[in-house]
Every structure is written in C-alpha cells, then in structure tokens.
C-alpha cells in the first residue's frame, strides 16, 4: 500500500486519538505521530496489528506534546469556587466529595 493511501486510512483514527489528549496541539501531535507511523511501518511484522501499533504511537506523541504546554487552568480553593458558582463553600466541599466518590466507583467498576 502506498504512503498516500496509508495516510488516508490512518489519519482519521490518529486524529481522534491525538485531539482529546493534545487539545490545541492536536494537529502538531497528529503530524508527528503520522510521520513516526509512516516511517516505521516497514518494521511492523503483522499487518493485523497496524491500528493497535498506530494507537500506541499516537497516544505517546499526544501526551508528549500536551506535557510541553504548561497547565493554564486556574486552581481555585473552595471559597473562590463558591463565589463563582454562587453557593456556600460547604456546598462546594460536598459536591467535590460526591464527584470524587462517583469517579472512584466508575473507575473501579471498569
């Protein structure tokens, strides 16, 4: 299969993996991942493993680019979060507790 066809085949898949991880760096991550995939394709022994192998490269590149960008989300304490949401700090605390509990349940369930 020619490189152009491989790119058409893999690009939507790689873009769906890189987008949510690398966010605004998604196109850069996708570009880097596609180069590594197309360069390394000859080393792939089993054609059936193509998508799994491409996925590993895409995740690695997306994480690498996402890690380069500093976290810009402001860290709020319960008082500040309460002011923004117009609720008492105690309400923020209990909502956070419920969110953590349900996240833990969902995480352990999987």
């Amino acid at each position: 299969m020619a490189l152009g066809e491989l790119m058409e085949l893999l690009l939507p898949y790689v873009g769906r993996i890189c987008g949510p991880i690398a966010l605004q760096d998604g196109p850069d991550a996708t570009q880097e991942a596609m180069i590594k995939i197309l360069r390394g394709i000859r080393t792939l022994d089993q054609p059936a493993a193509l998508f799994g192998w491409a996925r590993v490269i895409a995740v690695r590149e997306a994480v690498r680019l996402a890690a380069r960008r500093p976290v810009t989300a402001p860290l709020l304490d319960e008082q500040q979060a309460g002011e923004i949401l117009s609720v008492q700090p105690g309400t923020v605390r209990s909502r956070l507790f419920r969110a953590r509990t349900s996240f833990r349940k969902a995480w352990n369930h999987d």
Binding site: A2, M7, G19, G26, Q31, M34, I35
Partner: protein
C-alpha cells in the same frame, strides 16, 4: 458525545509535510505564501494538463486519460518521447501524483489574506540520492514558474 469530541485533522500542507518526512528517497519540498486566494491558486495548480508541462521543461505534455471521482489517470510524455502513467488524487487543496518512478504532490491552504502553497517531488528510485542537487534546481525552477503569475 462524539459530536464534541475534539478530533485533530491535518490540513493539506501538513499532509504534504508528513509525506515529505516519511518517504525513503530524497524529495524536493518547498512552501511559499502567495498574495492570491486559495481558489485562484488552486484553479491554476489543479489544471494539471496545462501547468505540469509549463512548469517542468522536461515534460512535453500531460493528458488526463480517465477520471473517477477524485482519482485520475494521467499520461505524461517527456521531451524525448518517454511516457509515464500517473495515478492521481485531486481534490480542493490537495494533489498527489504517483508513477512507477516519480512521486509528486501539491497542497494549498488559506493563510492571512493569501495562500500557503506547498509542492513536493522526487524519484522513487534506489540511487535517487545522487539526483538531489538536480532535484533542487528543477524544483526551484518549477516553483518559480508556477508562482510567477501570482506575484505580479
């Protein structure tokens, strides 16, 4: 949920960069920003029968023999009479041309008030590394010829 899932895509120029970095033979690659709309630039670039012989002096003619959607078959004839059959993918902003021995690509995307245009060309041969300097001369010349009408 999938509607808001942030999917990353590559515009045609980025696709061309991926191709240039992935092939195992030397290729000529150049990018330029032209003071013309993508529609104007692509109207010229996609006119393969006219532009290929105009920009590549070793080519006598280029004829599209068949078309199926965005897939074309193009027959190129050199000045010495040699012929090559190209499989072509041609869509707005993207063109990929491949024969047994040659790979070529063009891409265009909007940039500011103009258009970023990229081109790639190379020989798909084992000894093609030796042709590197020749490729640069021919590539630069083709790029100059193609872009000249937009610079006036």
């Amino acid at each position: 949920m999938t509607d808001s899932w942030p999917q990353a895509d590559l515009d045609p120029v980025r696709r061309l960069r991926v191709l240039a970095a992935s092939v195992r033979f030397p290729v000529y690659v150049a990018e330029v920003v032209l003071p013309a709309s993508p529609e104007q630039v692509w109207a010229a670039a996609s006119d393969l029968e006219r532009e290929l012989p105009r920009c590549l002096p070793t080519l006598r003619s280029a004829r599209i023999r068949s078309a199926d959607g965005d897939r074309l078959e193009l027959l190129a004839t050199g000045t010495l009479g040699q012929r090559a059959r190209f499989d072509v993918v041609l869509r707005p902003g993207w063109c990929l041309m491949r024969s047994r021995f040659v790979l070529g690509a063009m891409a265009a995307v909007p940039e500011g008030d103009g258009t970023r245009f990229a081109a790639l060309g190379g020989f798909r041969l084992a000894g093609a590394r030796l042709a590197g300097p020749l490729l640069t001369v021919a590539g630069d010349r083709a790029m100059r010829t193609f872009t000249a009408p937009f610079r006036r």
